[in-house]
Symmetry: C2
Subunit: 120 residues, 2 copies
C-alpha cells in the first residue's frame, strides 16, 4: 500500500494534502456539504475566519477545481459557491477525518493534560 517505490509521499501528493488538510479548507468544504452557499453565509458559518482568509481559501479551492464560483448579474452582484463533483469526493473523505477528530477530541485533550502535568 506504499505510495511509491521510495516509500515516501510524492511531492504532488504532499502538496495536495497540505492544501486540503488545512483547517479553513476543511471548514469551507464542510459548510458546502448541503449545497450552494453565498460568501456572507459561509463567513457567518465559520467561526473565526476573516473575510480575507475566506477569500483566499475559496480562491484556492476554485483553482484546485474543488469549488465552483458563480457570479449572478444582479445589483448588488450575488456570488455563489458550490462543491464540484471532485469537491464532493473530497467532502466524503474529509468527513471521516472530521468524525475522527470529533470522536477523539476528549481523549486528545486528556493526553495533553497528562503530558503537560508530567512536563511541568
Amino acid at each position: 500500500m506504499d505510495l511509491n517505490v521510495h516509500d515516501e509521499m510524492t511531492c504532488q501528493v504532499r502538496d495536495v494534502l497540505d492544501r486540503v488538510g488545512d483547517k479553513w479548507t476543511l471548514n469551507v468544504v464542510h459548510q458546502l456539504r448541503h449545497g450552494t452557499r453565498r460568501f456572507t453565509d459561509l463567513k457567518r458559518g465559520i467561526d473565526g475566519i476573516s473575510q480575507r482568509m475566506l477569500t483566499v481559501t475559496l480562491r484556492a479551492l476554485e483553482r484546485d477545481g474543488l469549488v465552483a464560483r458563480t457570479v449572478h448579474p444582479v445589483v448588488p452582484p450575488r456570488v455563489d459557491y458550490a462543491l464540484t463533483p471532485m469537491g464532493q469526493t473530497l467532502l466524503k473523505t474529509a468527513w471521516e477525518l472530521i468524525e475522527w477528530a470529533q470522536t477523539h477530541a476528549d481523549d486528545i485533550a486528556g493526553a495533553r493534560r497528562r503530558y503537560d502535568s508530567t512536563a511541568g
Copy 2:
C-alpha cells in the same frame, strides 16, 4: 450528520483538525505505519523536513497521545517512536485522505493550469 446544533465545527474539533491535518503530521503518521522508527529513520523518510520541524511534530504527536516515545538507555541513547492505539486509528483515517490526494493529484494539477491560464 451535523457536528453540533450551531451547524459549525466545535472549537475543539477544529483544533484537532488543525493539528492532524498538518502536512508534516500526516507524513510522520504515515512513516510510522509499519511500526517503530528511530528519529534518524523518520528524518530520512520524510523529504524536506528539517530536524527542528520533525522534533516539533513528534513532540506534538506525543502530547496528543498519538505517538509513544521510548528512550533506550544505551550509549549513544536510542530514541524510538511508534503509534499508540489511538494513533493507529488516525493512520487508518488519514490514509483515506492520502489516497484521495494521490487519486486526484493530476486532476488538481490540471484544474490549476486551466485556472491560471484563464486568470492570466
